[in-house]
């Protein structure tokens, strides 16, 4: 079971890398990819738990997360395209019309 713990730690590391990536990157698409990274980390955790608990629920959950990820990818990329059309940039630091 110690091994499984390491899986979880790996998932945590991935999650963190993803989260940090979201914070430090400025390209909207890359940020989005970092979010995907986070989701992958979650998936890993789910699968690990499923394995550990001898239950399938975690795997099913991962299945749904993937579905959601796909949906989000579609919408998210569409949004990015839409904004690129209007502003010709995907740098999120330049997309700050609204503040305060």
């Amino acid at each position: 079971m110690i091994l499984l713990t390491w899986y979880l730690i790996l998932s945590g590391v991935l999650f963190t890398i993803g989260a940090v990536g979201v914070l430090i990157r400025r390209n909207a698409i890359v940020i989005f990819m970092c979010i995907e990274l986070m989701l992958n980390a979650v998936n890993l955790a789910f699968v690990t738990f499923a394995r550990q608990l001898n239950s399938m629920d975690g795997q099913i959950f991962v299945f749904f997360i993937m579905t959601v990820a796909a949906a989000e990818a579609a919408v998210g990329l569409a949004i990015i395209i839409a904004i690129y059309r209007n502003k010709a940039t995907v740098n999120v630091d330049n997309i700050n019309l609204m503040k305060w």
Binding site: M1, G12, G18, I24, I29, L37, V47, A50, F63, I80
Partner: protein
Amino acid sequence: MLAGLLFIIMGLITIVCALCVVFQKNPIYSAIFLIQTMVSLAVLYVLLHAQFIAAIQVMVYAGAIMVLFVFVIMLLNLNKTDVEGDYDKLLFQKPSAIILGFILVVMIGVVTLNTVFQGTQGEYTPESISQIGNTQLVGKMLFTKYVFPFEIASILLFAAVLGAIILAKKQIIKDKEV
């Protein structure tokens, strides 16, 4: 033992690739590294006796979804390194992100290492799964216990498709209105 070794190798690859995703300047490289991360994760899924998940990880995630990313990057002609500009306007963003990330990792590590897993054990040991077959099991569950979310997911996808279309359509269709 072999599994352990494999885990270490794949885990390292995953982490390195993930870091590359974050630190590569060129988004297309990031995307490629993300795919690599996903693939290596798929290997880990297999190690965890989740073959079906591993399969769709490669096919759907790394395949379909990431292709979409690459496609968009290409479409928008973003495969340049200088998209993000030279310097970060938010001075404290990076250091604080890294500090917070560090704390987060430590906390997750602490949590994981300190947890005694007592969760209700399910009936699907790796043995029983391999008896039925992972994919069959998933299928069965999707149509029994998870039939409702499964149906609901269709709405989700429908909404997403609809949204993607409406947002990404080239020109507002004014023909009907004109």
